[in-house]
């Protein structure tokens, strides 16, 4: 029986597992595996080459990259943006305005105003597509396949919308936007022809001879028509 705490570590060391047999078995199995599968010998990992030593300059860079000249890189070339294009176009226009001032007024202030007006007009069209793009298409279908089909068929629907709607707002008509379908519906409602299925069937059956008559009193006339 241990009488003091000093005997405990020795006791635990004596209780340590004896893994010599385990190690011998592992080594033996590795040798046996190598003999059974020669490929293991062929692809035995080789010790990689030692890491090359850093030079003084590299060491300096790694130790203090902020102060090192090696770490400084030239800024990457950036693509010209809209502002660059606008700057160039304004420059060209200003050169043209100065070299060829209007015949009616050679006041330099007027030339600057005209340049500003021209630039404003040039800026304005760029704003318009953003308005059209900002309109998000409404969700019509529930599956991805349905969505692809809605865009597929929205083109033909937009053709009918363009025929019916007089675009006087100045907005560019985007044939791929489903909101044009809403415009088409509005146009259908605005025109004298009733687009409801009941009226369509009535017209086809011959109950309504003239479309204009139905447009004059839509509510009272159609209310008298009933489904068979």
């Amino acid at each position: 029986m241990p009488n003091s705490r000093d005997d405990l570590p020795m006791l635990f060391r004596s209780l340590a597992p004896d893994d010599t047999g385990f190690q011998a078995a592992v080594n033996a199995s590795a040798r046996a595996a190598g003999e059974r599968w020669p490929l293991l010998k062929a692809v035995s990992p080789k010790k990689p080459n030692s890491t090359p030593a850093l030079s003084a300059q590299e060491r300096q860079y790694w130790s203090n990259p902020a102060k090192s000249d090696v770490g400084q890189r030239k800024p990457a070339l950036s693509l010209p943006g809209a502002s660059d294009k606008m700057t160039r176009s304004l420059g060209r226009m200003s050169v043209r305005a100065v070299s060829h001032p209007p015949a009616s007024d050679r006041n330099p202030k007027r030339a600057n105003v005209s340049t500003t007006e021209i630039s404003a007009v040039q800026v304005e069209p760029e704003k318009r597509p953003n308005v059209a793009r900002s309109i998000q298409p409404t969700a019509i279908t529930t599956t991805a396949a349905m969505k692809s089909s809605s865009t597929l068929f929205s083109g033909r629907s937009q053709t009918r919308a363009d025929e019916a709607v007089d675009n006087t707002s100045g907005m560019p008509v985007n044939h791929n936007q489903p909101e044009s379908r809403a415009a088409m519906e509005k146009a259908a409602n605005a025109t004298p022809v009733d687009a409801s299925l009941a009226s369509v069937f009535s017209r086809i059956e011959g109950k309504v001879t003239e479309v204009a008559k139905s447009a004059s009193k839509p509510s009272s006339f159609l209310s008298r028509l009933g489904r068979r």
Binding site: A145, A195, F201, I204, R228
Partner: protein, 156 residues
């Protein structure tokens, strides 16, 4: 032409290889056993039943535009092409593009297999309130291929 090759390629993709030989054999056998008009009537009733199962897809349509959109959503789900529905004078023009009928049963069987779409659209318009005096029938001469043209109007 490239467009013909593309059309041929995509037409070959319409029908599952698992069922194509069976459908072709069935069409050939039925053509020998029954005349074209009887087969067309059979497929007409098949199309009506087909539309009854798909009633939820189009029953809420209030206009031809909504009906077209609803039907195209349905056709696109099952890879049956698309349809264009327009009111033309005294009838409704139905142009169903890329229908797999010709590929499934053969071009020579299109004379009667078209009855399937006739029955389908007949049921659609009946459910939406059209009278029984109006019928769906083939428009013009039968043409081989994936496009089917029908008209819905008063019986002639």
């Amino acid at each position: 032409m490239v467009s013909d090759k593309l059309q041929s390629y995509f037409r070959a993709q319409q029908v599952s290889l698992q069922w194509l030989p069976v459908l072709r054999a069935m069409a050939a056998e039925m053509s020998e056993q029954m005349d074209a008009e009887d087969l067309r009537q059979l497929f007409f009733h098949v199309g009506e039943r087909f539309a009854q199962d798909a009633g939820d897809c189009f029953q809420g349509a209030q206009s031809l535009i909504q009906l077209e959109d609803s039907l195209n959503d349905f056709w696109s789900q099952i890879n049956w092409g698309w349809v264009s529905i327009k009111e033309v004078q005294e009838h409704i023009d139905i142009s169903h593009q890329s229908a797999p009928l010709a590929e499934a049963f053969g071009d020579e069987a299109l004379v009667w297999s078209i009855g399937l779409l006739e029955g389908f659209y007949q049921n659609v318009f009946r459910v939406l309130g059209a009278s029984d005096s109006m019928m769906v029938c083939r428009a013009g001469k039968p043409t081989a291929g994936m496009d089917v043209h029908l008209r819905f109007g008063r019986q002639l």
